[in-house]
């Protein structure tokens, strides 16, 4: 009898573990296949272009707003904190380093995951449940090449550009609060921003951005591609795409930071 009880407890654990392994395997194969299709012809420049505009251009307002408020609140918060030990002068440095190294890529990544990753999962998921992906197969078109590869390429290339713009807007947000609210000298603030900034800070942020772009589009495509069961399945795929992309962005951000700045 006690044996039976032990089985009852172990069974679900084993099932969950196996399901987890199956998902990891499926995702790995999907990633490998998608990457190999990114570098082998035929390419679809029109679709790559459309996705680039979708990710890079149409995400600008959302990402810009996120960046400017992040920069502003950062300046304000560090002022209240730093004033306690008379280090207000360091605000410009704090703002520019935080934005370029962390907040720019991470916040832009999370916003784009919500905007673009969800849309991709919904679009590809709908194509799956309405047999459009099967139709592609019968029309001499590989859906991995036609649907997935252009989105991955667009994500990899556009996110760094988007984040570079977000960096500038974020630093500007900090400048506005620093100069117009906290009364810093404008030239002084800019000088301090510039002096302590190294190329490595910006570049590491842009590399992160590129990887986040890959994660967002991969999750959107993967969950959409494997969605099933009509409208509900597409809804689930969209949720998974955003949640998994967000978690992967935050966890890989830590690992990447560790890699870049390891002593």
């Amino acid at each position: 009898m006690s044996n039976l009880n032990a089985m009852n407890v172990l069974q679900p654990i084993g099932r969950i573990f196996l399901a987890f392994l199956a998902t990891v395997g499926r995702l790995t194969m999907f990633t490998g296949s998608a990457l190999s299709h990114c570098v082998r012809p035929p390419f679809y420049p029109r679709i790559i272009g459309r996705q680039m505009v979708e990710i890079g251009f149409f995400s600008l307002p959302v990402v810009g707003l996120t960046a400017i408020f992040a920069g502003m609140v950062l300046a304000l918060q560090s002022y209240t904190g730093f004033a306690r030990f008379s280090a207000e002068g360091a605000i410009a440095n704090v703002v520019v380093l935080s934005i370029t190294r962390e907040l720019g890529p991470v916040l832009a990544g999370l916003m784009v995951a919500g905007r673009v990753g969800a849309a991709m999962a919904a679009e590809i998921g709908t194509m799956r449940v309405t047999e459009q992906i099967d139709a592609l197969n019968t029309l001499s078109t590989n859906p991995m090449k036609y649907l997935v590869a252009p989105r991955l390429i667009a994500g990899l290339t556009m996110m760094p550009i988007l984040v570079f713009i977000a960096d500038i807007i974020g630093v500007f947000g900090g400048y506005v609060v620093g100069v117009y609210k906290l009364g810093f000298n404008a030239a002084n603030y800019l000088q301090r921003t510039y002096d302590f900034l190294e190329a490595e800070d910006v570049i590491s942020g842009l590399v992160k951005a590129s990887i986040f772009g890959f994660i967002i589009t991969l999750m959107g495509c993967y969950h959409g591609y494997h969605s099933k069961g009509g409208a509900q399945g597409v809804g689930t795929a969209t949720t998974y795409a955003v949640v998994s992309a967000s978690i992967l962005i935050l966890s890989s951000d830590y690992i990447l930071t560790e890699l870049f700045f390891a002593k």
Binding site: T130, E131, Q132, D134, A135, N137, T138, L139, S140, T141
Partner: protein, 258 residues
């Protein structure tokens, strides 16, 4: 069957999803230029059979031959070559809603880069005319079309690359009886004009009688009866009788749970 090589030959085809056996040894021949309709209740694996032939689903076991060539387990390059012989009309039309109608029709041609965009457009307009649609429809988006028009566009897309074999998955489902008959007429006309081989699946018997040379009935994963369309009414098979007369009582038990 004569000893002439069939266009499609299925032998002992098996397919399961987990524990659920869907196809359990399907044998079927479709001759060159012949139109075969597979009938059967919902969920008996008709669509699965066609998707196995197109390699949209992996085959469990068994053999599928196209023009005498075994196609189970072939590589990607060979599969692309084989799939070029096929055209498929999907049940829900499956038009790409991000593209205008004419690009939908010409999609296969553009994908193979056999023609320029301008030529592809001309071909698409020609194919649309073949299914009774005007050139203006070509510039609309699929979402602007009615269900019957979407089916016609999907038909035009299925025949755009002049395939040797055309699959029709429930071509009349969701259409009113008149539009269904229009689609049936188009299928008959087009397959005859093109000399194409046709394999259709449906549970609409009016449609089956109209487009089929031969009818096969799929039940519990096997073909239980196959014969000329004219013989369907006196098949002598109780399952077929029950199905074509639409009786709830008989040897076929409807599974309440899948």
């Amino acid at each position: 069957m004569s000893d002439a090589q069939p266009k499609i030959r299925l032998r002992n085809l098996h397919k399961s999803f987990g524990d659920k056996v869907v196809l359990n040894g399907v044998d079927l021949d479709v001759g060159v230029g012949e139109s075969v309709v597979v009938i059967g209740g919902s969920g008996t694996g008709k669509s699965v059979m066609i998707k196995c032939i197109l390699a949209l689903l992996p085959v469990g076991e068994g053999s599928i031959q196209v023009d005498g060539e075994e196609v189970v387990g072939i590589g990607t390059k060979d599969r692309e070559r084989i799939n070029r012989k096929f055209g498929m009309l999907f049940q829900g039309a499956a038009l790409f809603d991000s593209l205008p109608v004419w690009e939908n029709v010409a999609f296969g041609l553009l994908a193979e880069k056999r023609v320029s965009r301008a030529e592809a457009r001309d071909v698409a307009i020609g194919k649309l005319a073949q299914v009774g649609l005007t050139p203006e429809v070509g510039d609309l988006s699929p979402a602007e079309l009615s269900g019957g028009m979407q089916k016609r566009v999907a038909l035009a897309r299925a025949i755009a690359a002049d395939p040797e074999i055309i699959f029709f998955d429930e071509p009349t489902t969701g259409l009113d009886p008149i539009m269904a008959d229009v689609i049936n007429d188009l299928i008959v006309k087009i397959t005859r004009e093109m000399g194409a081989t046709a394999l259709s699946i449906t549970h609409d018997l009016a449609s089956a009688r109209k487009i089929a040379h031969r009818i096969a009935m799929l039940y519990e994963g096997k073909i239980i009866w196959v014969g000329p369309t004219a013989d369907i009414d006196d098949s002598g098979n109780p399952y077929v009788d029950q199905f074509i007369n639409g009786r709830a009582v008989g040897p076929i038990k409807m599974a309440i749970r899948a």
